[in-house]
């Protein structure tokens, strides 16, 4: 499978997107891939694949994204993708409390398959739905700490924090340890304050940094 440049092979990383039906997994990926948003993506059936090359300061990586179907019925397909991925992005909808509660199951499933040998990011999507918010940023952050995973809020619709999400993931990828911790912290601070101002969810304290 020849791919990547002739200079050095492109490092490839697999990311699996998990979360309930209609929380915005496909939308987040589409915003990241094509910088666009559409209200009417068909429900994902089974698993979709997408790939994007990310140019970081000191290296280039290729991200292979597995977009899973959120409905319970399709769940038997997912474990093999979790086993295969080095990153699991667990998404919930900040305007849907149940989807937030269900993230625990997803994270546990990832831990069952991969133990701690995996990067997990908890993502609260749809921050644009300000009036419908059911899950505060603090709750999201607390859950991320409880499970010892990364956390960020996004809005695929508004294009908010999507790049930040992927930069955050890229910075945490194996082989990226050389990146300074300070820089990672910076990134997180920026994200959270931005999230807070957008969602008017209150003050994002410095405690809201990445818990990993």
């Amino acid at each position: 499978m020849a791919s990547g440049g002739s200079v050095s092979p492109l490092a490839k990383y697999k990311l699996v997107f998990l979360g309930d039906q209609s929380v915005g997994k496909t939308s987040i990926i589409t915003r990241f891939m094509y910088d666009k948003f559409d209200n009417t993506y068909q429900a994902t059936i089974g698993i979709d694949f997408l790939s994007k090359t990310m140019y970081l300061e000191d290296r280039t990586v290729r991200l292979q994204l597995w977009d899973t179907a959120g409905q319970e019925r399709f769940r038997s397909l997912i474990p093999s993708y979790i086993r295969d991925s080095s990153v699991a992005v667990v998404v919930y909808d900040v305007s849907n409390r149940q989807s937030f509660l269900n993230t625990a199951r997803w994270i546990e499933e990832v831990r069952t398959e991969r133990g701690s040998d995996v990067i997990v990011v908890l993502v609260g999507n749809k921050t644009d739905l300000v009036d419908k918010r059911q899950v505060s940023i603090e709750e999201g952050d607390a859950k991320a700490r409880e499970f010892n995973v990364m956390f960020i809020e996004t809005s695929a619709k508004a294009g908010f924090n999507i790049k930040a999400l992927f930069r955050k993931i890229a910075a945490a990828l194996p082989g990226m340890e050389s990146l300074s911790a300070a820089r990672t912290e910076d990134l997180v601070d920026v994200n959270l304050s931005a999230a807070a101002s957008q969602s008017r969810a209150g003050t994002a304290s410095s405690a809201s940094t990445c818990a990993c």
């Binding site: 499978m1 039906q21 993506y41 068909q42 059936i45 089974g46 409905q71």
Partner: protein, 469 residues
């Protein structure tokens, strides 16, 4: 690059299949499949009365058409011609599978669709060779008129000959006759004319009664489960067939919502599963088509009278029930029906085009990764909506054999791009297969897929063990 080449998925499917009892009987071949080609090559009257199904009967579609159109029984010469034809096809199919897999429309491979075309041509005033393109167009028109007349004659019978209707419908149903034909083929309408109105009235009333009893109730009266089901449906309805503006209308979406919710709570073994929303769309579109001026593709603001809407909705509901009855295990826990179809597909493709299967294997691409949606939505998402309706003609004509035939359709569909795909690496492969270049397809392409599917079934069905290894 082994991170890409996970075989875990397929292994798990195999294990899954090995240790599992599927609901219902699992047969890799069917009784009707074991008919040797010699037997299959008997005149149509035998085939039809033997009830061996569409496949045998359909190979003689054109024979029957000729006879009935000409108003005379087929001559023995004609019959012999078909026998030779059938033998030739069988031989060609066995010897030249790879070629056919690649060629978009194998010249030697006549199938019911193509043969029917021949029949249509043969019934024109001039032979195709003599005809100028102008007269050919006229001929085509008159041929479709004759074909339509044939449908009409069948539908006017006191008791519709369903076998004959299946044969005819297999190659496509004229759009204005689709509502009736589909409902007959699905067994929703009884073949007997006299009983039809009564049954229709009863079924529609039954549906109407379900709405206030199950759907139009206070949220508090709904169980938590039903409430979850309703929410799932509500989320999916607005994103059903987004490419077809017709379904963006509020009225249509409300209907869709009721149908899906009611279907889900009345089928608790599976409940509503995403993708079933796609499967209702052909029914709604076709059953409403008599009340539309334009076609579904350009109709965006039709305000159907309530009575029209509720009838189409009820009919769609019952037809969805009939359609899904045959493939229920596609949607039950762990979706064994889909897993099995994908497994059978892989084995079939290996038989037809081994280098292709090898290529996928060496790239680490599993069938389940790209065919899951194909099976779950019966290919409806992979082709333009109008063509899905054409595809439905054949599915419904296949009746109970549809789920088996689907494997062959999938193989023919996939191998349409065999030579291109063999040159692609993992990433390119999967991206291509997820978004196939079918946007500019017409009926010709769909019928070519169906032809090859038909042919492969004819050549593989008597190899009893071919899919059960």
């Amino acid at each position: 690059m082994d991170p890409d080449k996970s075989t875990a998925g397929m292994t798990s499917v195999r294990n899954f299949l090995r240790g599992r009892k599927f609901p219902g009987t699992v047969r890799m071949t069917r009784a009707g499949d074991e008919t040797p080609p010699e037997v299959a090559a008997k005149p149509a009257s035998n085939a039809a009365s033997a009830g061996t199904g569409v496949e045998v009967a359909a190979s003689y579609v054109e024979d029957r058409q000729k006879r009935s159109l000409a108003g005379e029984p087929s001559t023995s010469e004609e019959a012999r011609g078909h026998v030779d034809d059938a033998h030739l096809n069988a031989n060609v199919t066995q010897l030249d599978l790879k070629n056919m897999a690649v060629s978009p429309r194998g010249e030697r491979a006549t199938s019911p669709t193509e043969r029917t075309n021949h029949a249509r041509e043969a019934n024109g005033a001039t032979t195709p060779k003599q005809a100028s393109s102008g007269t050919q167009n006229t001929n085509l028109r008159s041929m479709s008129d004759t074909r339509k007349a044939k449908f009409k004659r069948l539908l006017e019978q006191q008791v519709v000959d369903l076998d004959a209707l299946r044969e005819l419908a297999w190659s496509g149903v004229p759009s204005d006759l689709r509502p009736t034909c589909w409902q007959l083929l699905l067994g929703y309408l009884p073949p007997n004319r006299e009983r039809r109105e009564q049954i229709l009235e009863r079924k529609r009333r039954e549906y109407r009664d379900m709405v206030p009893n199950y759907y139009d109730i206070q949220a508090a009266e709904r169980s938590a489960e039903d409430d979850t089901a309703l929410r799932q449906v509500i989320v999916d309805v607005p994103r059903t067939a987004p490419g077809v503006p017709f379904f963006a209308q509020k009225q249509l979406q409300k209907s869709l919502e009721r149908i899906l919710y009611l279907w889900g709570i009345r089928h608790p073994a599976s409940g509503y599963v995403q993708g079933i929303n796609d499967l209702v769309t052909p029914f709604l579109a076709v059953f409403l088509s008599p009340h539309m001026e334009g076609s579904v593709s350009n109709e965006t603001a039709t305000d159907f009278p309530e009575e029209v809407m509720i009838c189409a909705e009820a009919d769609s509901y019952w037809c969805l029930c009939k359609l899904l009855d045959g493939i229920q295990d596609h949607y039950t826990h762990a979706q064994p029906g889909i897993q099995r179809t994908v497994f059978r597909l892989e084995e079939l493709v290996r038989r037809i085009d081994e280098p292709f299967t090898h290529h996928l294997e060496s790239e680490g691409l599993e069938f389940l990764q790209f065919t899951f949606r194909w099976v779950n939505c019966l290919l409806i998402r992979e082709i333009p909506f109008q063509l899905a309706i054409r595809l439905w003609d054949t599915y419904l004509a296949e009746g109970t054999r549809m789920r088996d035939f689907l494997t062959y359709v999938l193989a023919a569909f996939l191998l349409t791009w065999s030579s291109q795909l063999k040159r692609m690496e993992f990433q390119e492969l999967i991206l291509f297969l997820q978004r196939l270049p079918t946007a500019d397809w017409g009926e010709k392409e769909v019928e070519s897929v169906l032809s090859r599917a038909y042919m492969w079934r004819a050549s593989f069905h008597h190899a009893r063990s071919h899919l059960s290894q």
